[in-house]
């Protein structure tokens, strides 16, 4: 009896301790980024261009704008494809060959390392157009979004009960109206939630941008050209080893973290309220 109680107590202590320990890195990272990043923050930092190498000051305005532009383009490509394939898998698949292949494609894509998607966009687009371009970056990021949104859409629509569907069919509505207005209407919240999470996720993705949008020290002038992004800026500046650049990397990290974590916290609150 004693041995058993001791084991139980031991497990209780171990699990408590380890859980507490896992809170340390989170707090550490967040505080670290806030403390080191805050010193770099200023209005100038957010709205101006990087200073030429060796000069003091300058900001990361182009990188912030770049990240937003690339993300927006990725959403334009990724969300429709994700939602449409989700609808297809949930409502129109009927076990056809296309749906089986699509499911395999989406399952596999969700597990592919993002750097490989960057290489894919490089091989497919950068090589063909002959220069680095934000379009390739958006394409790579959209491939990350597709499985996330598609799976959430499919699952959200699958939870709509047969009763509701039959009720709608009994009203004499055509299937596409039922699908869009009723089923998708009910699954709306999981589609929105997953889209927001996918947006947050691609905001933090760096590897697919390294060989696609690359980097630029100027304001974006068009979509089909190299473009700065917060993620690549953090990587480049942090790895450069120059103290003034590392400070800017921390500042950029703070902004990026705020963006990503606030979306996540927002979604968490939103979805716990719904559930």
């Amino acid at each position: 009896m004693n041995m058993r109680r001791t084991k139980d107590l031991l497990m209780k202590l171990t699990s408590t301790l380890i859980t507490l320990i896992m809170a340390v890195p989170l707090l550490w990272i967040i505080l670290d980024v806030i403390i080191k990043g805050a010193s770099a923050l200023s209005l100038d930092f957010i709205i101006s261009l990087p200073a030429p190498f060796g000069e003091v000051g300058g900001g990361i305005g182009n990188a912030i704008l770049g990240t937003l532009i690339i993300n927006a383009m990725a959403c334009v490509i990724g969300l429709p494809l994700g939602i449409a394939t989700g609808i297809y898998l949930s409502e129109y698949s009927n076990g056809s060959k296309i749906s089986a292949l699509l499911r395999t494609a989406i399952d596999t894509l969700s597990g592919i390392p993002s750097i490989i998607l960057g290489l894919f966009a490089f091989s497919l687009i950068v090589i063909r157009v002959g220069h680095y371009t934000a379009l390739a970056a958006a394409f790579a990021l959209s491939i990350i979004m597709i499985p996330v949104v598609s799976k959430a859409t499919e699952e959200g629509m699958k939870t709509v009960s047969v009763d509701i569907r039959e009720g709608a069919i009994a009203l004499g509505l055509p299937k596409w109206v039922i699908t869009i207005k009723i089923v998708l209407g009910i699954a709306k919240s999981s589609v929105i939630t997953s889209s927001l999470l996918a947006f947050a996720r691609i905001s933090g993705e760096t590897a697919p941008l390294l060989f696609t949008s690359l980097f630029s020290y100027y304001w974006p002038r068009g979509l089909n050209e190299p473009m700065a992004s917060l993620q690549v800026l953090i990587y480049n500046y942090a790895m450069s080893g120059f103290e003034s650049w590392v400070v800017k990397a921390w500042g950029a990290s703070l902004l990026l973290m705020l963006l990503v974590l606030s979306i996540n916290i927002l979604v968490r609150r939103f979805s716990t309220k719904v559930g």
């Binding site: 009896m1 041995m3 058993r4 109680r5």
Partner: protein, 252 residues
């Protein structure tokens, strides 16, 4: 009274702020079958879960009062594991462990106690399975998973599992509610035999079943013990009009 196995004194129970048992006092005689009846939500299940300290596993659960087993308060003078070993329980839905064989299910409680003697375990498995009338049906392959048995067999396996640790009191929470009539009949006749070894406390929503199997009956309503007495008296001429209304099926 020395013949009373289990004494409940002023037992109250809560889930968060909601009181589900209100100062219940009751004495369970030894080696008898006691049925607990009452409409759903009357606190039957909470009541018997207080008797082996299962209630405290539920979040928000709170208990006040005393439950005394052979003169020892199970809340202050015994630890929960010991209580649950001495007071066995059979649940509403048969719950054999699906990852264990029939054999391992029966001896699960003994193994927890550190008993590893193969010969002893073999003996217990055979005798308990015989006791519940399952031996002839399963002895050809005791390595099968318990989950492969039929519902009635699963429930009898669970009873064998509860009996393996030789409990002095056996709690049964609507043990036949998910079973067909013939399985129900088997379990009922088993209950009548079980009282030779233990005090059996059985919850049932079926008053006919309570009348069939029990020696004593307690009627709970909205957390209050309304009436307790010999089953024959409760079903022939209950004292309380509420009991009367319930056993004659005139409850709203």
């Amino acid at each position: 009274m020395s013949s009373n196995k289990l004494k409940v004194e002023d037992l109250s129970a809560w889930f968060y702020e909601k009181q589900v048992l209100n100062r219940v006092s009751l004495e369970f005689p030894d080696k008898k079958v006691i049925a607990i009846i009452g409409p759903s939500g009357c606190g039957k299940t909470t009541f018997i879960r207080c008797l082996n300290r299962m209630h405290e596993l539920t979040p928000g659960a709170r208990v006040r009062g005393r439950v005394v087993l052979d003169g020892k308060d199970i809340y202050t003078e015994m630890d929960a594991m010991e209580v649950r070993r001495k007071i066995g329980m059979v649940f509403q839905k048969p719950n054999p462990f699906p990852n264990m064989s029939i054999y391992d299910n029966v001896v699960a409680g003994l193994k927890l106690m550190g008993i590893r003697d193969k010969a002893l375990l073999d003996k217990v498995v055979e005798s308990k399975l015989r006791e519940v009338g399952l031996w002839d049906e399963v002895s050809d392959d005791l390595r099968r998973s318990g989950a492969q048995l039929s519902g009635g067999q699963q429930q009898r396996l669970c009873i064998a599992r509860a009996l393996a640790t030789e409990p002095e009191v056996l709690l049964m929470d609507e043990p036949t509610s998910s079973l067909d009539p013939s399985s129900t009949a088997k379990i009922e006749s088993l209950v009548r035999v079980l009282k030779n070894h233990a005090t059996v406390i059985i919850i049932t929503h079926n008053v006919q079943q309570a009348a069939r199997v029990s020696d004593y009956t307690a009627f709970l309503y909205l957390g209050d013990l309304i009436e307790f007495g010999e089953t024959k008296k409760i079903f022939e001429s209950p004292k309380n009009p509420l009991t009367e209304k319930y056993v004659t099926g005139r409850f709203g």
